[in-house]
């Protein structure tokens, strides 16, 4: 069994984070975007936990737990927002929500 090294944990985190970023930028579905954000949060959590282990301090793990708690509550809000938005436009396509767009009328 290959021993998981410090650099591999960090690499995993960077990979997850990049996937999250790419999802955020390139996808249209609001659910996918939400999942990308969660992915990025978890990538950060991995870094916290890794560094906690590496430095032998519990601080990082505590923060990781806190992030998860906040992410949970955020999930509740986010999902209810998505429901509300769906009711408004009957769509989960992010491009349909363009009320604040600059109209070239000036």
């Amino acid at each position: 069994m290959i021993e998981a090294s410090f650099i591999s944990y960090i690499s995993l985190a960077i990979l997850l984070f990049s996937i999250g970023i790419m999802g955020l930028i390139s996808r249209k579905n609001i659910f996918i975007i939400y999942m990308s954000i969660e992915l990025m949060l978890n990538a950060i959590n991995i870094i916290f936990v890794t560094l906690s282990k590496y430095f032998g301090s519990m601080d990082g793990q505590i923060i990781a737990m806190m992030v998860m708690a906040i992410a949970a509550s955020e999930a509740a809000i986010f999902l209810s927002l998505i429901v509300a938005m769906y009711r408004l436009k009957h769509s989960v396509n992010i491009d349909d929500f363009n009320t604040l767009k600059q109209k070239d009328t000036l």
């Binding site: 970023i21 955020l24 930028i25 390139s26 996808r27 249209k28 975007i33 992010i94 491009d95 929500f97 363009n98 009320t99 604040l100 767009k101 600059q102 070239d104 000036l106």
Partner: protein, 627 residues
């Protein structure tokens, strides 16, 4: 007597003006108000002021000291205080009496003259505002408060000249009056500022000024005196600032009678008398004033000889008579000048009101050569006009004789023979042009129209009152030869400039000369115009009729240049430079906004990308910096 009543003399017309204005606005916009209400309110105010004035007069007559009332601080800067103060001394109460008396009669007259006019309420609102301003000017206890009134009467004059503002010519006349007055006012302000600079720290009411004015060096006093006189020139229509007064006749006739003949134009004379302590110290400026007065008198009289508009003739005669007043005050005989102000107010108001009655009767015609033969049709107007014309021509026992004769006598006694000569000659011209007007209007046979417009009693009654005044007003200032007490000199003792004793024979001789000269003028007018009966209308022309082209010269020298300058500033500088700069700056902002606004594309992924870009570059910066 309570000195706070002084303020009510001013406040009553002011409040009345305000109420009338509000009622007028109500009347034109919501519900028509009966003219009777306006009339009642309007006439009540000057009469009440007059009665209060009489009370003060009686109290001062019984030996009361000057009344001083300072209700509140008008201006307090850094410990220096100018209070809104009123001074009721013999001079100001004298002015109040005749201003409110003449004002009351003209208000009554105007009620008839303006009957049925659309702007009836507005007219009386302005009229009462004028009364309030004039009384403030007279009753002020410091030059600064006086200046408020000074400007107020100018404003009312402007408003009333342009009363029929739908006619562009009237508006031009109003503007002209206002602008020429501003020129004079500038002189007045300069005088006040210099005076303030030198003695203002010691207090700026008349009492303080009188005490401390001698601290100012004579050369500075000369400048102050001339600057203040420039103000008087503007307000009292003397050379070279007289040009506005003839044009001011565009206003309704009661306005001409009250403002441009009897009261406002005498403000300059009053001001000089008020500053007598200043002018006593600089007799050379006084002499200059007297010469300006004499030349104005002569010049205006010459122009008046060839005019055809009845009101313009009277306007020039006003300038001429004001010239006489300045001769008197210039030579230090302030009480004599004020005596002429007093008598002139009666007969000139009467002349204007008579002229107004004639104009109404013949259906708004002002050219005297289109009138004629009105003697039989308007017997009352005829007789009062005869009294007024005799008074202004200096025929005894009518009022003008005494005051004019006294001025000429004073000029002679001060060894100003040139002024005396000019004054005498002008007296002859005055008699001539006034009787020319009189004969042509009332005795000529040129009038075609048979129908006369009806003159109401509210127009006739004031004529009678003033005719009585014009007849007897002279008796308050009888010369020494007839009476030991000259009431005017007695009352205004502080302003009489010292009594000049004259031999009785000399005095009688001078009177004789004046009367002969006046009669000579009348005879010439009689010969030329009594049986005036031209089949074709007379057309005056020539340099005199065209007023020596002074208006054209002024237009050429001043007005054109200023118009060009204004055009340059408004077109080239304002539009070309300032507007352009501001507008291009605006344009820049708008363009920038449009570009930046395009970033709000409503594409969430783009936003996220920008966010990422921002965070990345910031992180990169931190890493490079800290790393």
């Amino acid at each position: 007597m309570n000195s706070s009543l002084l303020a009510w003399i001013i406040l009553i017309p002011f409040i009345s003006s305000f109420v009338l204005g509000a009622l007028y606005l109500y009347s034109i916009s919501i519900k028509k108000i009966n003219d009777t209400i306006f009339t009642f309110l309007a006439i009540l105010a000057p009469i009440t002021s007059f009665l209060i004035g009489v009370a003060f007069f009686l109290s001062l007559k019984n030996g009361a000291t000057d009344y001083m009332y300072e209700p509140y601080t008008w201006l307090g800067v850094n410990g220096y205080i100018i209070s809104m103060g009123f001074l009721g001394d013999k001079l100001s109460i004298f002015m109040v009496l005749f201003v409110t008396f003449i004002g009351s009669t003209i208000h009554v007259y105007a009620a008839g003259y303006m009957k049925g006019d659309e702007g009836y309420g507005k007219f009386f609102s302005y009229f009462n505002l004028f009364m309030a301003s004039m009384l403030l000017l007279v009753l002020a206890n410091s030059p600064i408060i006086m200046f408020i009134g000074w400007e107020g009467v100018g404003l009312c004059s402007y408003l009333l000249i342009g009363f029929y503002f739908t006619e562009p010519l009237n508006v031009v006349a109003g503007n002209k009056a206002f602008i020429v007055n501003r020129v004079g006012d500038l002189g007045f302000i300069i005088g006040l500022v210099i005076m303030f600079f030198y003695v203002g720290k010691l207090g700026f009411d008349y009492y303080a000024l009188e005490d401390y004015i001698s601290l100012v060096p004579t050369s500075i006093l000369t400048i102050i005196g001339i600057a203040l006189f420039v103000g008087a020139m503007g307000k009292s229509a003397q050379i070279p600032l007289y040009v506005w007064l003839p044009d001011a006749m565009a206003g309704p006739t009661p306005v001409s009678a009250l403002i441009h003949a009897a009261t406002m134009v005498t403000a300059g004379v009053y001001m000089v008398a008020r500053f007598h302590f200043l002018y006593d110290l600089i007799p050379h400026v006084g002499e200059f004033m007297a010469y300006i007065g004499a030349f104005s008198a002569l010049f205006a009289a010459i122009i008046a000889m060839r005019q055809t508009d009845i009101k313009k003739i009277l306007a020039y005669s006003t300038i001429s008579q004001l010239g006489y007043m300045f001769i008197a005050v210039g030579l230090g005989a302030y009480s004599t000048g004020l005596f002429h102000v007093f008598t002139h107010a009666f007969f000139k108001a009467l002349l204007f009101m008579g002229a107004g009655a004639v104009i109404i009767a013949v259906g708004h015609e002002q050219n005297i050569f289109k009138m004629g033969g009105l003697r039989k049709k308007l017997p009352l107007v005829y007789s009062v006009m005869l009294i007024a014309t005799l008074a202004i021509s200096g025929i005894p026992p009518f009022s003008g004789f005494f005051s004019k004769d006294e001025i000429l006598l004073k000029a002679y006694r001060h060894h100003e023979y040139l002024i005396y000569g000019i004054g005498l000659f002008t007296a002859a011209l005055t008699a001539y042009y006034m009787f020319r007007l009189f004969f042509v209007t009332f005795h000529g046979k040129n009038y075609k129209q048979k129908e006369m417009h009806y003159l109401s009693w509210s127009m006739k009654a004031p004529l009678l009152v003033l005719a009585f005044g014009a007849t007897v007003a002279g008796f308050v200032g009888l010369p020494e030869v007839f009476s030991q007490t000259n009431l005017i000199d007695e009352w205004l003792k502080a302003y009489s400039g010292g009594a000049l004793h004259v031999e009785h024979t000399t005095e009688i001789m001078f009177m004789g000369i004046s009367v002969v000269v006046g009669l000579a003028g009348i005879v010439v007018a009689y010969v030329k115009y009594f049986k005036y009966d031209f089949n074709k209308e007379i057309q005056e022309s020539g340099i005199v009729y065209n007023k020596f082209y002074i208006d054209e010269v002024y237009h050429f020298i001043f007005v054109r240049g200023i118009q060009k300058l204004s055009r340059f500033i408004s077109v080239d500088v304002d539009d070309g430079v300032i507007d352009k700069a501001v507008m291009s700056l605006c344009g820049g902002f708008i363009n920038m906004g449009r570009r930046i606004g395009r970033m709000q594309c409503a594409n969430t992924r783009v936003y996220a990308f920008f966010m990422l870009l921002g965070i990345s570059s910031f992180s990169l910066y931190l890493i490079l910096k800290l790393g």
